[in-house]
Amino acid sequence: MKQQDNRAWLLLLPACAVMAFVGLVPLVTVLNFSFHDIFTLDSMHWVGSEWYESIITSPAFHASLARSLLFSALVLGVQLPLGIAVALILVRAGRLGLLLLLLVAVPLVVPWNMIPIMWLSLVNPETGLAGRAMAALGLAFDYKFTAWHTWVLLVVMDTWHWLGLVVILAYAGLSGIPPAYHQAAAIDGASRWAVFRYIELPRIMGALFIVILLRFVDSFMIYTEAFAINAGGPNGATTFLSLALGEEIKGFSYGSAAAHAMVYFLIVVTVVRIFVTVTDRHARSAQGGTP
């Protein structure tokens, strides 16, 4: 059992100092900006909650919120099952599995602005491998002007980028399962699904919560990759929340940009709060109700 000792806060001081400087102070500044109309940083005047009211009622905000939610849903819907399936195969594949695990981790270390550059040159119809293959098959892939092609490219690219995270964390949970569990299941004649549902899934539940959380916030706020692919186009069809915010900042509309930023922050923190509550409840019921 851990002992109660409030002097432990002394050990947190370095971390607190850093986080206050790069996190808390900027956050309070954004909050302050969001209640002002700002021409230059020396001439701001108080407008109260005006920015918030105009955001909440703006159809453009609703549309980009819906697009971001749809993108997150697609990303989670594709990457989560795919990542778990890959991890289930790799964990049985021995040394080859470990090698492939390292391979799927490679996209994670590519700088984010390089990823769209790589993919755009891949689907280039004249010089790209995939682009030429699709042209040869007679597929007209046009991510510039056909909205759903842009969406497909974004989801495939994001899957390429982040599948490794899902696989690594699921693999970690799966490789910790003692062989005796699987032997017992085989003796009982358990189906493949039952093995997954009652032996494997509980072991990767904790890791899956982290994956869902990280994948949700990162896809919900995707900026660098989406901007480079088509700058929110065609015709605003991929203008996600963060791309809309980027335009506000570039337009020097700081007050409104700050209010947008606060709204996004509140959405993300609310989701995280719900998530943590659900995770806690799950962990508690798994421990048999002890708090």
Binding site: V106, N113, V217, Y223, A261, V276
Partner: protein
Amino acid sequence: MIRRVLTALALVLLAGFILMPLTQTILLSFTATLPHDGLREGQFSLINYRNIFATPALVDSLRNSLIYVLLNVALCLAAALPAAYAFARFRFVGDRHFLFLMLAFRVTPPVVLSLPIFILFAQVGLVNSPVGIALVHCLFNLPIAIWILESFIRAVPREFDETAFLDGYSLPRFFLRHLIPAIAPGIGVAAFFCFVFSWVEVVFARILTVTDGKPITMAINALFSFQTDMGLVMAMTVFSLLPGLAMIWFVRNHIARGFVIRT
């Protein structure tokens, strides 16, 4: 039998999917994409790699990136180790709230904080400096480092600490002499994630380098112009991958451990 064929097929497809963009990148990096030095377009050549070292801005950017990333790793580990120890060994007022706050900062989108961070850092002279980027990357790396180190410290039995303290070790000396060697794989994993997340980050690295200290990512962006030398871009991209690949290789036996979130 059919099962094994299907599994093998799935693995081949997976490897192909991951390798395809990488293959494209590597192929282009060895191709002359602009007609210069008497080379035809599309001809195999090492010219792009030679051009990197002939361009001071590109060489500088490699150095700039390495400096702030290593600084960030050092900062995160130094601040995270005592914090992780506190969480692994003690209960205290507000501990759960602090962890939730860390989680909230980890998931805060950079674009939300980019403007005030630029203003704040401009006031204290941290723009265009690797120290500024190293500090701001702590925003998402410090929470991760704390989680990872905490789960590794928790695995060390408490008696280990008590023996050292009975031997007369002070807390800092205990950290250096006993704790760090005992959780070396954890330090490695934490350093890996900090390194990678700092290396790939773009939003903060862009706004904090206005005139000087450009990281490799921005140096590559600056290569785009009316007539972009894609081969050079791809050769730089290959370079930008190398440190990450080296890190993956170092932690290959531990990568799948120690990513446990607690709140």
